[in-house]
């Protein structure tokens, strides 16, 4: 079945009003997306100017804010670093919208895989539950999690800025090694594909150390600089870790973390940011607070859990 441009525009319009798509449409768009993604490399080469977005975790109204602040797609080129789902109340709307935008403007938006684009973790952290509530069965969850297997895992801006969700792997010190990984699978518990989605930089410890997250590693300044040198890169942009100011730079400004979910889970009170990379490869962190609508954080009709959990 051919998903015409007209239909996609209609889907996008619906989603922007925070209305979910019917199950059959989700099947269509995820099928089309898999066809599109299969021809993308593990490591996508993209051109500046581009705006890089970190974790959004189902915070749909904040995603709409991102497009207001950074410019609508396709007027602005976007690179998303993953973690579209889980934790927020609108994972379905978020991933549906981004999928439709990618189908509609494939050369203007790139979607990478985060560690939450996985079957295992989405059963614990909310996406599965949300699909069950909104569709009454797990089919939509299955469609999206199958689609996640196809997402690229890294991107390079102007052959100079390496972008990935988590970071480095001791099993893939060369980008060429990442290019030849078999990415078309559930995120494994270990190995290079797992590491690059789960790892974190550590300003206090050199080398690779097993991560307390139970997957991936922490990587120090020494291995980061060596990675940049050996792969002829100038900078790494990654996400994965909450930053109270919305972003953090490390290792003499050789690595940036961008975090795009403000007031994460309606609890953390943090700022968020997007990184605007211009043609000179300069990076500007555009920071923002939670969208006014998301401050009241009313989840859609069928869940009545309004406020975040604390220990009471």
């Amino acid at each position: 079945m051919n998903t015409s441009t007209f239909n996609l525009d209609h889907c996008i319009e619906k989603l922007q009003k925070c209305e979910i798509l019917p199950e059959s449409t989700v099947k269509e768009i995820t099928d089309k997306m898999k066809e599109l993604l299969i021809s993308e490399s593990n490591v996508q080469e993209i051109r500046s100017p581009v705006t890089v977005v970190g974790d959004v975790h189902g915070q749909f109204y904040d995603v709409l804010e991102i497009f207001k602040i950074g410019g609508q797609c396709p007027d602005t080129n976007y690179l998303f670093l993953g973690d579209y789902v889980d934790r927020g109340y609108h994972s379905v709307e978020t991933i549906s919208l981004l999928t439709c935008l990618k189908l509609r403007y494939p050369s203007r938006i790139t979607l990478l895989r985060g560690n939450h684009e996985s079957r295992q973790i989405t059963q614990v952290y909310g996406f599965y539950g949300e699909c069950m509530r909104k569709y009454g069965n797990p089919t939509v969850w299955k469609y999206f999690t199958e689609m996640f297997d196809y997402l690229s895992v890294a991107a390079i801006i102007d052959e100079a800025i390496y972008c990935v969700h988590g970071g480095l792997s001791p099993s893939a010190l060369s980008i060429d090694q990442i290019k030849v990984l078999d990415r078309f699978q559930e995120v494994p518990n270990e190995g290079a594909l797992s590491d690059i989605l789960w790892s974190d930089p550590d300003p206090d410890r050199d080398g690779f150390v097993e991560s307390q997250r139970g997957a991936g590693y922490s990587y120090g300044k020494d291995v980061t600089l060596r990675f940049l040198q050996n792969n002829k890169m100038q900078h790494i942009i990654r996400a994965h870790q909450l930053c109270m100011d919305g972003y953090q730079t490390l290792f003499d400004n050789k690595l940036s973390t961008v975090w795009s979910a403000p007031n994460y889970c309606n609890r953390c009170g943090n700022m968020a940011s997007i990184v605007e990379v211009n043609e000179k490869l300069e990076r500007y962190f555009n920071t923002y607070a939670a969208a006014p609508q998301s401050l009241s954080n009313k989840p859609t009709l069928d869940t009545n859990k309004e406020l975040p959990d604390y220990f009471l």
Binding site: N115, H116, Q120, I121, Q123, V124, Y125, Y128, G129, M132, R133, Q212, R213, G214, Q241, L242, M244, N263, Y264, C265, N266, R267, C268, G269, N270, T303, N304, K305, E306, L307, P308, D309, Y310, F311, L312
Partner: protein, 361 residues
């Protein structure tokens, strides 16, 4: 690992924003406010059941107090596990300090549906030379008694020490009136912590002011005005010369996370009334030390987890479920503390507790 995840369901709408003037010192709690405070009890029971069902610790009793089991996020499960472990380790030390004394008391203030009494009685390794007192709002105590009356498994933990001439139904009925239950090891009564007059319930429950006594108050004093909380803490140190007071509550209202926490909890209808008076650990310490306690040790929950809790328990429980909330864990757990205040005539007792010094090892 795969889990079947039931749908999220409401923890109850604790709406009714309290609009009273925040400048005037509060001396009482309005009715709707009281309902919301009582609601936190259901929340706690539900979270504890979630942690138990995942396997963090054993509690065959909490399920009787929860109508709709919901699985909570891993951070909440791990957080409640940490609380239970911390209390167990502190109470164990307390019992050990006074092992040669044949009568001890535990007083749980704002007990809610907590099941610690039942777990203690169920533990073969614990000597049953203690009396466990629980006090809370009248509604809570009545409901708790009703639930106990409806479940033999709970009654059996209370009946054992009674005379064989009574049968089960008579035993329980004779122990119970409206809002009170009185048995050899377990006594329940109603109280209003903002009104010291109601503390006479302890006399009615035949408390002994001359035996080592440990107070538990988890997320209790923070819901009542500062002055009322001070009165409770002072009353405890005045009345009991060999005692401990354990408080679990929130701190740090002034950073971004703290401000959001204040706002969210206020929207649940049970504002944190005393948190602004004791924003930091040292403020909490000054509070207890100025209200008659000899020594006060404090750990925030990050340190309770990483330094105080038995490492083997951490190893066992970290395998139970995927955990991807480290930054949030640090944030939220940095905003909760356990306060362990001690009073004793024997300096050696004050010096031999192991709590805050676990940080330095």
């Amino acid at each position: 690992m795969s889990f079947s995840i039931p749908p999220l369901s409401s923890i109850g709408n604790h709406g009714n924003n309290n609009n009273s003037n925040s400048h005037a010192p509060r001396t009482s709690i309005k009715k709707s406010h009281k309902e919301s405070i009582i609601g936190t009890n259901d929340d706690a029971a539900s979270c504890k059941l979630s942690a138990v069902n995942v396997g963090y610790y054993s509690d065959p009793f909490v399920k009787y107090f929860v109508k709709h089991p919901i699985r909570r996020q891993p951070l909440i499960n791990r957080g409640f596990f940490s609380r239970v472990e911390c209390i167990e380790q502190l109470v164990s030390q307390f019992f050990n300090q006074y092992k040669d004394v044949d009568k001890k008391q535990i007083i749980s203030l704002g007990c809610g549906f907590d099941t610690y009494y039942f777990r203690l009685m169920n533990n073969k390794d614990i000597k049953k030379d203690f009396i466990y007192f629980e006090v809370d709002y009248d509604q809570v105590i009545s409901n708790k008694i009703k639930i106990i009356q409806n479940h033999k498994e709970l009654q059996s933990m209370i009946d054992k020490e009674w005379d064989s001439k009574y049968d089960t139904n008579e035993k329980l009925a004779s122990m119970v009136n409206h809002q009170r239950l009185s048995s050899k090891n377990y006594r329940l009564g109603s109280i209003d912590l903002t009104n010291l007059e109601t503390f006479k319930v302890f006399n009615e429950l035949e408390i002994d002011y001359n035996v080592p006594t440990l107070f538990l108050s988890e997320c209790v004093l923070v819901y009542i005005p500062t002055k009322c909380g001070n009165d409770v803490i002072q009353w405890a140190s005045d009345k009991f010369s060999e005692s401990c007071f354990i408080t679990y509550e929130q701190i740090k209202p002034n950073d971004e996370f703290g401000r959001m926490m204040i706002k969210n909890i206020e929207m649940k209808g049970c504002p944190l009334l005393s948190i602004e008076s004791f924003p930091e650990i040292e403020d909490q310490r000054k509070r207890y030390n100025s209200l008659g306690w000899n020594k006060t040790e404090i750990l925030d929950m990050r340190h309770v987890y990483s330094d105080f809790i038995n490492k083997n328990r951490l190893k066992e429980t970290e395998k139970l479920e995927i955990f991807d909330e480290f930054e949030e864990w640090d944030l939220i757990q940095g905003h909760y503390v356990y306060v362990f205040a001690m009073k004793s005539n024997a300096p050696s007792i004050l010096d031999s507790y192991y709590f805050e010094n676990s940080k330095n090892k």
